[in-house]
Symmetry: C2
Subunit: 211 residues, 2 copies
């Protein structure tokens, strides 16, 4: 899975046309992963809308990841599942879904180190900056710690930075050595989603670490 640019999405409430257009636009701009998140949604809503998202992701060459719900990810034939510290432990996810890519949210070096018992396929590390998109996100990690932690965590699994990343600060996030970035507002609040995605990837090193 190309982890370069994750776009998080709550598809419930979007019309089918909006959804299709949006995914086409972000794919054109260089998004590589769509993560469906909807903690407040019913399972049926996630299943119904998720089926549409999955089909469109396949059409536009995007990987499709489901947040938290391993059952929904499996039922929809998703490419991966992303879990947080309050979700199912990675070892249990591996047992249920051995063929899915598994991402794990970490917000401290301690959480990275604990995960060594059963490593995810990538870390979602953050929030890098203050963010309004996730009310329960903790204190911002900041650029200095992101750089330090990415060095430590990157030896275990690829790191995707998340939280408050915009076109203006994306370059300094890339310079921390992360393998990808994940955004919500930076894309969804942009009129030109393709341009927003392009701008977010602009600072990405062309040669991968170790490559």
């Amino acid at each position: 899975m190309d982890l370069s640019l994750h776009v998080l999405i709550d598809p419930v409430g979007m019309t089918g046309g909006d959804l299709r257009r949006s995914l086409q636009e972000v794919a054109a701009g260089g998004a590589t992963v769509v993560q469906m998140r909807g903690k407040e949604r019913t399972t049926r809503e996630l299943m119904d809308r998720g089926a549409a998202v999955q089909k469109l992701c396949r059409l536009y060459g995007l990987a499709f990841v489901v947040n938290d719900r391993v059952d929904v990810a499996l039922a929809l034939g998703a490419d991966g599942v992303h879990v947080g510290q309050d979700d199912m432990p990675v070892h249990a996810v591996r047992t249920l879904a051995p063929y899915l890519t598994v991402g794990l949210s970490v917000s401290s070096l301690g959480e990275v180190l604990v995960s060594r018992d059963c490593l995810p396929d990538y870390f979602g590390m953050g929030p890098v900056f203050q963010t309004a998109s996730k009310s329960d996100a903790g204190e911002p990690v900041g650029i200095a710690r992101l750089r330090e932690w990415t060095q430590e965590a990157g030896a275990l699994a690829p790191v995707v930075a998340i939280g408050g990343i915009t076109r203006d600060n994306a370059a300094e996030v890339w310079q921390c050595g992360v393998d990808g970035i994940a955004v919500i507002s930076a894309v969804w609040q942009a009129d030109d989603k393709t341009g927003a995605c392009r701008a977010l990837r602009r600072g990405q090193p062309t040669v991968k670490r170790g490559g």
Copy 2:
């Protein structure tokens, strides 16, 4: 699975000792199924407390059913999963969890008939009476319709009545021909949980329909 008496439980917040004592008491009174419900809980809470409930159910000879979350049911090694109309469709549950007993909540004859495409192992029918335990429960079905619908639904799968059932009205619910009843308050608000369960089963016919 003996469907006679389901006790619904939100185990988060109970101490380990309370949980153990409660399950021992309801088992002694004739409860047969414990269904874990916690829509507001995190997946991690359901996993952690659910593991304790599962072990105790095995110890006391109770079947263990998880509400809504097929992934949690599978990860915990539950005996079954119970889904509502807003949860995963039964056909998708069957694909993910072919060995689990699957219950489906229905609150109308229409929902019973639609389910014929992929039948559950039992129907949870209700709310029979007004209930305070589930704020989003619809209009009460009432005894007359419960009897009528149980005749129709019972030809497809066993029927478990739920919603506002107490020791005082349990006998007339049993007389509708149901295969089981499910309760929350009637057990959890009772000082004597064993006595409450015994009272709830008192009106149960000794010979099963068709037996």
